[in-house]
């Protein structure tokens, strides 16, 4: 839909790493019992992804599913698919105590890629980004300087960063500042 715009509307910055607004991304919060086979089946059948292990992201069929908490998943899909996927999940979970809610417009998404990506994120999140400690498929909810955020590393080596929509601009500026080309730390290269 042309009426819908993401907060940063495609902004990019290139420095120590490439910071890019991921544009409109379909996102669903699923709350339910992650141990339940019905939930697993619903997620598998609608997204193609298995239930991720603790603090992991599973990618399949163009979707990804991330472990948010023991009773919450973040499902990422194409923005124009989200209503459909929501409906399918709700349908598949009618018998379960579960909550499926579209949060696509409540969030901002960024990708952070390039050699300096670990270092840039290491300036804003109190998390160990050494290559042996944060690997593709790892997912973490933490803090991006002064706001809550979540991120995962995809198989291609790019970080996907999610924060609340209202602070999208703050997070973009924060990442931009951290990615100042003259501010290299040089510990992960």
């Amino acid at each position: 839909m042309s009426k819908a715009v993401s907060v940063l509307n495609g902004a990019r910055f290139s420095g120590l790493a490439e910071v890019a607004d991921a544009g409109l991304v379909g996102m669903i919060t699923l709350r339910g019992d992650l141990e339940s086979s019905a939930v697993a089946a619903a997620v598998q059948s609608t997204t193609g992804c298995a239930i991720p292990a603790v603090r992991k992201t599973v990618e399949a069929s163009g979707n990804s599913v991330s472990w948010m908490s023991p009773d919450e998943l973040l499902i990422v899909t194409a923005y124009d698919q989200v209503a459909d996927l929501c409906a399918k999940l709700q349908e598949a979970l009618t018998q379960e105590h579960a909550l499926v809610v579209n949060v696509s417009d409540a969030r901002s998404c960024f990708t952070l890629s390039g050699n300096g990506a670990r270092e840039v994120l290491g300036k804003v999140a109190p998390v160990d980004f050494a290559a042996d400690q944060f690997q593709p498929g790892d997912f973490r909810r933490s803090r991006l300087a002064q706001v809550a955020g979540a991120f995962w590393l995809d198989q291609g080596g790019a970080f996907h960063i999610v924060c609340f929509r209202s602070v999208g601009e703050y997070v973009f500026n924060l990442l931009k500042t951290a990615a100042d080309p003259d501010a290299g730390v040089g510990v992960y290269s």
Binding site: S104, V124, V127, R165, S166, Y170, A183
Partner: protein, 1016 residues
């Protein structure tokens, strides 16, 4: 070849030999107090000043005494300068830790009018006898106003060290933080640190080694000795190369271990561009390091000797003097007297002699003198006197004469020696700061007369196990071989403690000179009389002398903390690095106690001052704090929004048009909304989805009123109290389907109430089947308000918004103008009103559509102030205005919202406590000024008389007050004692403007009492 300086007649000068750290092929121009000087790359400001014969570098704090360099590193107490200018000016920079750069401009401090001629010196010359420790506690009391107006301004002006940055200064530099994780962090890049790093890294541990200076190797390259058969410097280079080649090792120079915090948290302070100001990128980076183990290889600091005149420029620590010679090829004098109580100072004698500086005499306080090193010195033809002391260094702006006496005497001069510099060594104290920050304990070592870390009482981490250890001379041993083996062991142990497989430590082998034991000398000479003790400095910067500590002890300040605070010993910007041990030895002696019994004061971070800029990090300007923006933020900003911060959000207070005052704009918005059509960006209101089989039951506990019986499709206003009974939030709840509710909260309540619900669900009622999701930001929510509200929606087309299809206090899903929307028929203004939620990403487009379609209906956006007035005219309460955390629903006449049917809800039990059921509690009423004026915000109504504490009795207060454009007069609400029974009564509100406002108690609803306008 002699340098230019050396050929001149100056006494402090650049030498032809030595200077391992400087590049003599290049020159750097810098200025000191405006005077142009030359130095070399590799110089510190301190070494460059010495090379230019600038002995006098500052004035002391209290007596404004002339002061020169005492040390060569972070422990330097005197050489503090103002550095740079304009937006890069910084006071109190240490010359010894300032790397020289082209164009450096330094200003000395704490003098007026000039460094050479300082009026404040009268403190020293005339009044020093009066200005003893704590003198100001005993005087300046009369007449009373004089403290504030005469004495204090004078004291403040003469204290204070560096000039403050300009009041309007905005720092031109940037700063950042970095999080880092390691198994073992080693602080200090001397040979001990390198050895410890090497051993720890050999186990595969992830190692970070940091060094505060720009160069590695610490003292060893200066002090000499061989390691693994090579010169110390060669070993340092080789070891660095080995470490650099290891993937598991990170090396950082110009990075100081600033503080150790609980659970293995360490601050690293990296100075990236202090040596080349203006270099792009951050100036400082504060590393926030989490590590399993910390090794402090921070070395030791030499102690001064306490003799009369030990603060005269030219008196310097012996090891620092040889640092200046070896590292930078400078000497503070041409004829030096050395005073010592240990063998190490003899190294200075040898190095000075080798560099062509005359050593007039080595005065060794020990009756039997030194060992092998002393012999070498004697063999070199240098005069050595045992059992002798310095009686006094002649006063002046630099050393000219040194009087020698017996150490065990009272200071009777035996001879006077002409000299222009004095090197002193009172022994060495391990740098224990980082060890101590988190509770590491110290033990007194009698043989070396110092406190060293007690390995049996190390700081404990989250697991109850030690997480800090020490290596090298930071542990106590001072000899090179012992240092290396201690460090190797520390490295291996730390790695093992960090969970790496144990490995036997392999230490480099060093050749040591055997040293004769030092003897503690706390006062030189031992029985110095009071005149001498009054000239024997302990704390140079704060001007604390031996006599001051003795006075404190005599006056009963027996605790070391008392003495510190009474005399200010150790409270200067060097935090007592040189003075503490000497001071507490004097204290112990005065009390007839032992040093270990007196103990030390507490070591607190940072080890050495760190910039506030670095602590703040990147958080400045637009990323100072997150600024939360609604989807319509940019539009609002472009259309006159007068922003009001609401938490981290910004909301338009009003939309101000050209030529309007804020007041005009608000009144226009009120009238227009009442008469035509207003739009409010209500996106910040919290929206929580509560779903599950037990959701109704749960909400009945959360809200004071019943929510479980709300019908699908309907809305209900709800109140929430804290468990303590106070009103904490309100909002409209909509029932979405059989097991789903959507709860609106206030703007500030969104995160708070979400957390509140999660807390109860997770920690008290975890058996309830309820899920909550915060969908506040999923939606842009727009209040469409006013008589034309329905018209504009109908024009946009889509869902049926008629009174029949969408009655008051109901909601519907559908499409409006092609937007997928949810419409709530709710009103906070008393007008016909819809709150429409669309997806946030479409919020701006929907707003644009409403503005366009609304043009013919007189649409205008309105801000929070208009919102407030509209609700106040209707007597609706506002959380944060009518409530303040002390107000309960009963106070506000909201009894109807306190369910009597429910057995329990949060806050119910609290309301039955005596004070909450008290009929004397103030009650919400409307207030109408007699003259139509606006009551002052926050005014109190006075009653009769005064209370037991002499305060006027009050009977009420204004909770919100506005000018009502609709009624063309002031309106207000307030809480008044027995208010609901006092309708029509007039009460008085004294303003702070001298006026008293008379107001009649009325019903809070002053506009459309019947509610006819909202239900059409």
């Amino acid at each position: 070849m002699l340098s230019a300086c050396e050929r001149s007649a100056h006494m402090s000068t650049r030498l032809a030999k030595q200077g391992r750290l400087i590049d003599r092929s290049k020159q750097i121009v810098f200025t000191f107090n405006g005077k142009s000087m030359l130095g070399h790359p590799g110089d510190t400001l301190a070494s460059a000043l010495l090379a230019n014969d600038q002995m006098l570098v500052g004035r002391s704090f209290k007596y404004h005494r002339p002061r020169g360099l005492v040390a060569s590193g972070a422990e330097e107490p005197n050489a503090l300068v103002g550095l740079g200018s304009g937006t890069r000016y910084e006071p109190n920079q240490r010359a010894t830790t300032t790397e020289l750069f082209e164009g450096l401009a330094a200003q000395s401090q704490n003098h007026w009018p000039s460094l050479e001629f300082d009026i404040g010196i009268v403190n020293s010359k005339l009044f020093s006898r009066f200005l003893t420790a704590g003198f100001y506690y005993k005087m300046f009391m009369h007449p009373k106003p004089f403290w504030k107006h005469v004495y204090e301004p004078f004291i403040r002006q003469s204290a204070g060290l560096g000039k403050a940055p300009d009041k309007e200064l905005v720092d031109a530099d940037t700063y950042e933080h970095f999080y880092f994780f390691a198994d073992v962090v080693i602080v200090g890049g001397g040979v001990a640190g390198l050895q410890a790093a090497k051993t720890a890294a050999a186990t595969g541990a992830k190692v970070l080694l940091m060094e505060q200076n720009a160069h590695w190797g610490g003292r060893a390259p200066v002090d000499g000795g061989t390691i693994d058969g090579m010169e110390a410097e060669a070993w340092v280079t080789k070891t660095l190369d080995e470490l650099r080649a290891m993937e598991n090792v990170t090396l950082r120079d110009r990075m100081m271990g600033a503080g150790v915090y609980d659970h293995g948290y360490l601050l690293g302070y990296e100075r990236l561009s202090d040596h080349m100001p203006g270099k792009p990128g951050p100036r400082h980076r504060l590393w926030r390091i989490r590590t399993k183990q910390i090794i402090t290889a921070t070395g030791a600091i030499e102690r001064p000797l306490s003799f009369a005149g030990n603060d005269v420029p030219g008196v310097m620590l012996a090891a620092s003097m040889r640092d200046y010679v070896v590292n930078w090829g400078v000497t503070p004098g041409k004829r030096v007297v050395i005073a010592t109580n240990n063998d190490d100072a003899y190294r200075t004698a040898l190095i000075l002699k080798d560099a062509g500086v005359e050593v007039a005499c080595v005065v060794d306080a020990r009756r039997l003198g030194g060992g092998a090193l002393a012999k070498q010195v004697r063999d070199a033809g240098i005069r050595v006197e045992d059992g002798r002391a310095i009686a006094k260094v002649a006063e002046g702006k630099r050393v000219t004469k040194v009087a020698i006496c017996l150490q065990n005497g009272d200071g009777q001069s035996i001879e006077e020696i002409e000299a222009d510099a004095v090197a002193m060594s009172g022994g060495w104290s391990p740098v224990v700061h980082l060890w101590s920050h988190c509770g590491g304990k110290l033990t007194w070592d009698d043989t070396q007369a110092h406190f060293r870390p007690d390995p049996n009482r190390a700081p404990l981490s989250h697991d109850g196990l030690p997480f800090v250890s020490t290596a090298g001379s930071a542990s106590g041993p001072m000899g090179l071989g012992a240092v290396l083996s201690d460090a190797a062991e520390a490295g291996a142990k730390a790695a093992e403690a960090a969970g790496l497989p144990a490995q036997a430590p392999v230490a480099a082998v060093a050749e040591d000179v055997e040293e004769t034991q030092m003897e503690p000398v706390w006062l030189m000479p031992a029985n110095a009389d009071i005149q001498h003790r009054m000239k024997s400095w302990l704390d140079y910067q704060n001007d604390v002398k031996v006599s001051d500590v003795q006075l404190a002890a005599r006056e009963g300040f027996e605790s070391v903390e008392h003495t510190k605070r009474y005399t200010t010993l150790g409270m200067a910007t060097d935090q007592g690095k040189l003075s503490n041990i000497n001071g507490l030895a004097i204290l112990a002696d005065s009390l007839g106690s032992e040093i270990p019994q007196v103990g030390t004061t507490t070591f607190r971070p940072p080890y050495h001052p760190i910039s506030m800029g670095a602590i703040g990090g990147e958080a400045r300007g637009e990323i100072f704090q997150p600024l939360r923006k609604t989807p319509m933020y940019a539009w609002n900003d472009k259309n006159g929004a007068d922003w009001e911060p609401v938490g981290h959000w910004r909301r338009p207070f009003a939309y101000i048009r050209n030529g309007e005052t804020q007041h005009d704009a608000v009144n226009r918005e009120v009238k227009n909304t009442r008469e035509n059509l207003g739009l409010l960006d209500a996106s910040t209101l919290g929206k929580l989805i509560v779903k599950g089989p037990d959701a109704g039951k749960f909400l009945d506990l959360m809200y004071t009123n019943m929510m479980s019986n709300l019908k699908v499709g309907k809305c209900r206003y709800g109140l929430m109290c804290s468990e303590n009974g106070f009103l904490m939030d309100d909002g409209v709840v909509a029932r979405i389907d059989d097991d789903t509710w959507l709860c609106h909260t206030t703007t500030g309540g969104a995160d708070r109430i979400h957390a509140h619900m999660e807390e109860w669900l997770q920690t008290e009622w975890w058996d309830m089947k309820v899920f909550v999701a915060n969908v506040t930001e999923q939606y842009a929510q727009i209040a469409v308000v006013g008589p034309n509200a329905r018209k504009v929606l109908e024009k946009l087309g889509g869902m049926d918004v008629s009174k029949e299809a969408l009655p008051f206090m109901e909601w519907r899903d559908g499409e409006i103008g092609g937007f997928k929307a949810r419409a709530y028929r709710i009103s906070f203004s008393g007008e016909l009103s819809y709150e429409i939620a669309v997806s946030a990403s479409e919020g701006q487009a929907f707003w644009d559509a409403l503005m366009a379609a609304g043009a013919e209906f007189g649409v205008m956006p309105y801000g929070t102030e208009c919102l407030h007035i509209l609700r106040a005219e209707k007597g609706f309460i506002m959380i944060g205005d009518e409530t303040d955390g002390t107000v309960i629903p009963q106070d506000l006449g909201l009894h109807w919202a306190l369910s009597k049917k429910k057995e329990d809800y949060i806050g119910k039990r609290a309301h039955s406590r005596s004070h909450m059921a008290d009929p004397e509690r103030w009650q919400l009423v409307g207030l109408e000024t007699v003259d139509g004026s606006v009551l002052p915000d926050g005014a109190y109504a006075v009653g009769q008389g005064i209370n037991a504490n002499g305060q006027k009795n009050t009977i009420g207060r204004v909770t919100s007050t506005y000018f009502s454009a609709s009624l063309n007069r002031g309106i207000a609400m307030g809480l008044v004692k027995h208010g609901r029974k006092r309708m029509g009564e007039v009460i008085s509100f004294p303003g702070t403007d001298g006026k008293t406002y008379e107001a009649k108690i009325v019903d809070p609803v002053v506009y459309d009492k019947e509610g006819a306008k909202q239900d059409v």
